[in-house]
Symmetry: C2
Subunit: 146 residues, 2 copies
Amino acid sequence: MEDFMTLKKQLCFAVYETAGEFNKLYTSVLQPFGLTYPQYLVLLALWEKDGVTLKELGAKLSLGTGTLTPMISRMEANEWLRKERSKEDERKVYIYLREKAVSQRQPITSKVAEVILSCQIELEEYEQLMQQLSTLQNKLKSNGRQ
Amino acid sequence: MEDFMTLKKQLCFAVYETAGEFNKLYTSVLQPFGLTYPQYLVLLALWEKDGVTLKELGAKLSLGTGTLTPMISRMEANEWLRKERSKEDERKVYIYLREKAVSQRQPITSKVAEVILSCQIELEEYEQLMQQLSTLQNKLKSNGRQ
DNA sequence: TATGATTAGTTCGTATACGATTTAAATAAA
DNA sequence: TTTATTTAAATCGTATACGAACTAATCATA
C-alpha cells in the first residue's frame, strides 16, 4: 500500500495516456481528410480567427515556432493554408485559410463531432474534466514561482 | 453561444495541453539527471518490475516497439539499462535495470515528488481526475465497437 | 516433418515537439 | 544617427511517436 510511485498511480501518466488515446481516435477520423491531429487543432484555431501571425497561433496552441514553422509549411504544401509576410512589419508572417480549409470545415467538424458523440461522454463529466484540467494546468504552470 | 467547435472548449485540447505542461515540468526536474520524461516512465515501470520483455514494457506504457526500440537503445547507451536476448525464445528481449538506475531511484523519485508536492494538488482533486481520466480512456478506447 | 501462420523486434518514413542558435527587421538608447 | 536591444521566424539537433514493411524465430497444422 505504501507505493505512491507506481506508474498506474501517476496523474502525469494518466494524462499522457489519455492524450495518446485522443491522438489515436482523432487520427483515425482525420486520416481520410489528409490531416493529422495537430494540424486539425491549427484549423480549429484558424476557423475561429483567420489571419493570425505564427506567434499568435503558437500562443493559442501552446506551441513554439520550432514546431509550428515546419507544420505550417506542410499544411501550406497540402493547400490548407497560405502564408503572407506583413508589409508593415516584415518580421511577421500571417497565416490564412485557403478555400480547401473553408469548404472542408463542415465535413470535417461533422465527422469529428459524430465520432466524439459516439463515445457517450456525459455533459457533466465533460465539463467537470474541463474545469479540473484547467485548475491542474494552472498549478503545473505556476510551479516554481514561490 | 452556439459554437461548440472552439479550441478552448475541446476536451481533447485540454488533455493535449495538460500533457504538454506535465512534460515541461517533468523535463525541468529530470534534465539534471540526464533523463527525458518518457525515459522516466520507463524507469518507473522497471522499478516496479524489473526484467520484462520489450513487448510487456510497451503494453504497460501504451507504446509500440517502433517507439521503444530506439528509446531503450538510448537508455542503454546512457547506462540506465541493459538488454538481453532470451535463451528460450530468441525473439524476446528482456530489459534489466543497471546499477545506475537502481542507485539513482531515490534521488530521482524524491526530487520528482518534491516538485509535484509543491504544485499543491489536493488529494481529492487528484483522485477524482484519476478516476475520470480512466473512465474517459475507456470510452475513447471502446469507440468504434458498436 | 515440411510448410504456413503468428509473434517479437528492428528498421524506415513521416510528423510532432522542444530548446538553442541564427537571421533579419524593428525599436530603443546613447 | 549609429549602436544596442528586442522581437518574429527560421533552422538545427535531439527525442518521441506512429504505422508499415521486414526479419528471424516459434508455433500450428496438414
